[in-house]
């Protein structure tokens, strides 16, 4: 279900009828005979109208019962069976089922399932109080929150039931030797696997700015050419990663090192969820290798810092910039200028005087466009600053490069004496260092994102 649809569903939720219709038409595309009669479904479908009394009646129903197949298989059961998950194309039904169960579990974690149930119960109690509607504003609020949570819970339960239903069907078809039915059910299961995966990703990336495009900034640590080379390797890794994901990459700013590599660079990554994924990369990345720049062939350790900033675009959270607070300079300009000079270099540097925040762009063909791009970077940096100031929470995702202390190492890349890339936060590791440097980062990103969920749940 699209984000939008889900939102509109939950906001309509206090109209039970409407909700039920839409909801079930989605999660039960072929729901004619339910194999495990969910009692509350039939009860809910009687609910009509919008009157407070109706709502009370509806809300007072027991929220959910854990679905299972006729032989007692539950989603948790599937997980604990530890069935191997194979590739979509060569998996059998168990593999599909295990993959779907995994997605569901992750979505539940994201929703903070246990907390959600407790909260839902509490709200139900409130809704059942006689004097509830004495304060209609508060009642409306409670009613809506209850509806929204119940909607989420039902969506997940819907997924669980759908999964079990498919399994039941497949088992049944096999018993009856009904090939056609088996084939069809397998197809439905595979379809569901894909949908569930999508929902899982949506659930992973549901923080405020996750869906935004972003800027990725890389800065070389101390250590001269070797670290600058490392910084450019890291930047290359992100460029490849972003391109493999189908994002558009634009170099905004690049300060090359004297001999090789870069001192610092910024790229813009355009595409849905770019920030949501890339934020996992914030922190210091460490490299150990024999430096090609060391004639004595010694082993070197170098560092590069990575910052990721959401590109909020024209969103209302944009900070208002006063033209008079800006100093706009021609970057690297020298000599008499004007008619004396013909250069295609028209880099522009903009300084926001009150904050000292700067942005440069040199990549465009006109000064005007360089200025516009630099303004966009400046705007997003100021937004970032403002976000950090306002929130002060969410701290790890709002750090700018300068805030990243060189102590906050997140990942280590060893190319000598052995080859391994290891994430220090999740302990996820890969021995094919080259593939990682070529942009194969999704394993790291996904494991970090789901580990963050676990952490949130522990905190909860």
């Amino acid at each position: 279900m699209s984000h939008f649809l889900r939102k509109s569903l939950s906001s309509f939720l206090y109209r039970p009828t409407l909700f039920c219709c839409r909801h079930f038409s989605h999660s039960h595309p072929h729901n004619t005979t339910s194999l495990f009669s969910p009692t509350w479904l039939s009860r809910n479908s009687y609910t009509n109208g919008l009157s407070p009394t109706r709502a009370r009646f509806w809300a007072s129903q027991p929220a959910v019962t854990e679905p299972s197949t006729s032989d007692g298989l539950t989603v948790e059961g599937i997980i604990s069976n530890n069935w191997t998950i194979l590739d979509e194309n060569d998996g059998d039904w168990k593999s599909h089922a295990a993959a779907i169960a995994q997605s569901i579990t992750l979505i539940k974690r994201r929703l903070q399932w246990k907390k959600l149930k407790v909260r839902l119960n509490m709200l139900s109690v409130q809704l059942n109080k006689e004097d509830l509607w004495d304060d209609p504003v508060r009642a409306g609020k409670i009613n809506r929150e209850h509806g929204s949570l119940l909607g989420k819970m039902k969506e997940v339960n819907g997924l669980e039931r759908e999964l079990l239903e498919h399994i039941e069907m497949i088992k049944l078809a096999r018993e009856e030797n009904h090939e056609e039915l088996e084939l069809e059910s397998m197809k439905a299961l595979l379809n569901m696997r894909r949908n569930a995966k999508e929902k899982e990703i949506e659930a992973l990336l549901s923080e405020e700015h996750d869906s935004c495009s972003c800027y990725i900034e890389v800065q070389a640590g101390a250590g001269g050419t070797e670290s600058m080379d490392w910084a450019s390797m890291i930047m290359q890794m992100y460029k490849s990663w972003a391109q493999q994901r189908g994002y558009k990459v634009t170099v905004m700013e690049e300060m090359p090192g004297e001999v090789a590599g870069i001192k610092r660079a910024t790229i813009k990554v355009d595409g849905e969820f770019a920030f949501g994924y890339a934020k996992s990369e914030i922190g210091v990345h460490r490299l150990v290798r024999i430096s090609p720049f060391d004639s004595n062939k010694r082993r070197h350790t170098s560092f590069a810092a990575v910052a990721v900033i959401p590109n909020l675009g024209d969103q209302s959270s944009s900070v208002q910039i006063n033209e008079s607070d800006l100093r706009i300079e021609r970057f690297r300009a020298s000599g008499a200028g004007g008619q004396h000079v013909n250069t295609t270099e028209s880099a522009v540097k903009i300084t926001h005087i009150p904050t000292g925040v700067t942005a440069t762009c040199q990549n465009e063909r006109s000064q005007h466009q360089n200025k516009a791009s630099a303004m966009a970077v400046l705007q997003s940096r100021l937004n970032q600053l403002e976000m950090a100031r306002q929130a002060q929470l969410n701290s790890q995702h709002t750090q700018s490069l300068t805030d990243i202390t060189w102590g906050s190492q997140i990942r280590s890349y060893v190319l000598h004496p052995y080859r391994m890339v290891k994430d220090l936060r999740t302990n996820y590791e890969v021995s094919d260092a080259d593939s990682v440097l070529e942009g194969d980062l999704d394993g790291f990103i996904m494991s970090y994102l789901s580990a963050s969920l676990d952490k949130n749940e522990d905190d909860a």
């Binding site: 706009i328 008499a336 004007g338 008619q339 004396h340 013909n342 295609t344």
Partner: protein, 362 residues
């Protein structure tokens, strides 16, 4: 190398509007006389149809060659006359490819065995030739591709027309700010004297409101033709009118009527011309650069012009060579008794050099 543009593509790109070019009174000193269209402007590469093609491997070969030539320059041009270094040349090469190749993604992709054909807007031989001219003859990159990105415009340029400078963009910003607050000036008639490629006239034409228009003049027939082409590309024929002639001569009918007057006239002192970087000194038209002994010839003439042509409350902006000329110009305006110019202000460019003198007619 002159491109032969006699083929049909050219005539379709340029419709008949050139014939409508007004040819008002021209000074006797004018070299050109005869037909209304004595000069046919070139079409920039990026606007030509992609009728050529090359094998990907051949194109890559050219690209590698061009890149190595660019790299071999190092900073030698910088040292000799403050010309471009390898980094700038490599970036130009990237833009060159963008303009020439229809789908440039080919060139940088690792895939493919090199036998695919890539569609291009110029043939491979011409690419070799053009890049050689860029490096060996120091032909400005903008003349190589036939255009310059200036503000949010892409203006056609060719030998014989000054390549608009980034500094000059600021004049349009100043005018844009002004007219956004001043309805009267927004709907008035403006003049861009020595319009060159038409950059200022087009930039200003786009910020004027209903009724507002720009009269752009230039002594050079090539400039007038190129400016007309650019005006037409941005569909501003109704807003920008071109007149050929020396400074104010073609604008005699506008005395005391102009809402605004802008100009970036030639301002380099004659003695400095010889020391200019090759791209400028060897390729750009001297008539666009040489401002006489102290570079002030045209500027002083235009001061008097502003005095004469602007209506009360009218605005002017001139680009100059820097602080010295700015000060001299302001002094001249203040000391000249008949001068009615006021609220004089000197404005710096983005490099911090005092570049513009602006003010109003009383």
């Amino acid at each position: 190398m002159k491109l032969t543009l006699t083929n049909h593509t050219f005539s379709t790109l340029l419709n008949s509007s050139f014939i409508n070019l007004r040819r008002p009174f021209c000074s006797a000193s004018l070299l050109s006389s005869s037909a209304p269209i004595s000069v046919k402007p070139q079409v920039p590469i990026f606007l030509r149809p992609p009728i050529y093609s090359a094998k990907l491997s051949d194109l890559k070969k050219w690209h590698n060659w061009a890149k190595s030539v660019a790299s071999s320059i190092g900073s030698s041009f910088v040292q000799s006359d403050n010309g471009p270094d390898s980094e700038i040349l490599c970036r130009e090469l990237k833009w060159f490819v963008e303009d020439v190749v229809e789908d440039k993604h080919w060139l940088f992709s690792e895939m493919g065995d090199g036998d695919e054909r890539v569609k291009m807007r110029a043939d491979l031989e011409e690419l070799y030739c053009l890049w050689k001219q860029r490096i060996e003859e120091r032909k400005p990159f903008q003349y190589v591709v036939g255009c310059e990105h200036w503000k949010d415009l892409v203006l056609s340029v060719e030998e014989g027309v000054l390549i608009p400078r980034p500094e000059t963009e600021l004049i349009v910003d100043l005018v844009s700010d002004l007219v956004s607050k001043n309805e009267d000036l927004r709907r008035g008639v403006w003049a861009d004297l020595g319009t060159g490629s038409g950059a200022l006239a087009i930039g200003i034409g786009r910020v004027l409101g209903n009724g507002g228009k720009v009269i752009a003049s230039d002594l050079s027939p090539v400039a007038v033709a190129v400016a007309a082409y650019n005006v037409q590309r941005y569909c501003l024929q109704n807003k920008v009118e071109l007149r050929e002639g020396s400074w104010l001569e073609p604008l005699k009918d506008m005395e005391g009527k102009l809402a605004g007057l802008v100009s970036n006239p030639p301002y380099i002192p004659s003695t400095d011309i010889a020391g200019l970087q090759a791209e400028v000194g060897k390729h750009e038209p001297r008539v666009a650069l040489d401002g006489g002994v102290d570079g002030m010839d045209a500027l002083l003439h235009l001061c008097d012009g502003a005095d004469l042509m602007l209506k009360p409350g009218g605005f002017f902006a001139f680009e100059t060579n820097g602080e010295k000329q700015c000060r001299e110009l302001v002094d001249y305006m203040k000391s000249n008794r008949s001068a009615s110019l006021c609220n004089l202000e000197i404005i710096a460019d983005f490099a911090g050099i005092q570049r513009f003198v602006i003010g109003f007619h009383r």
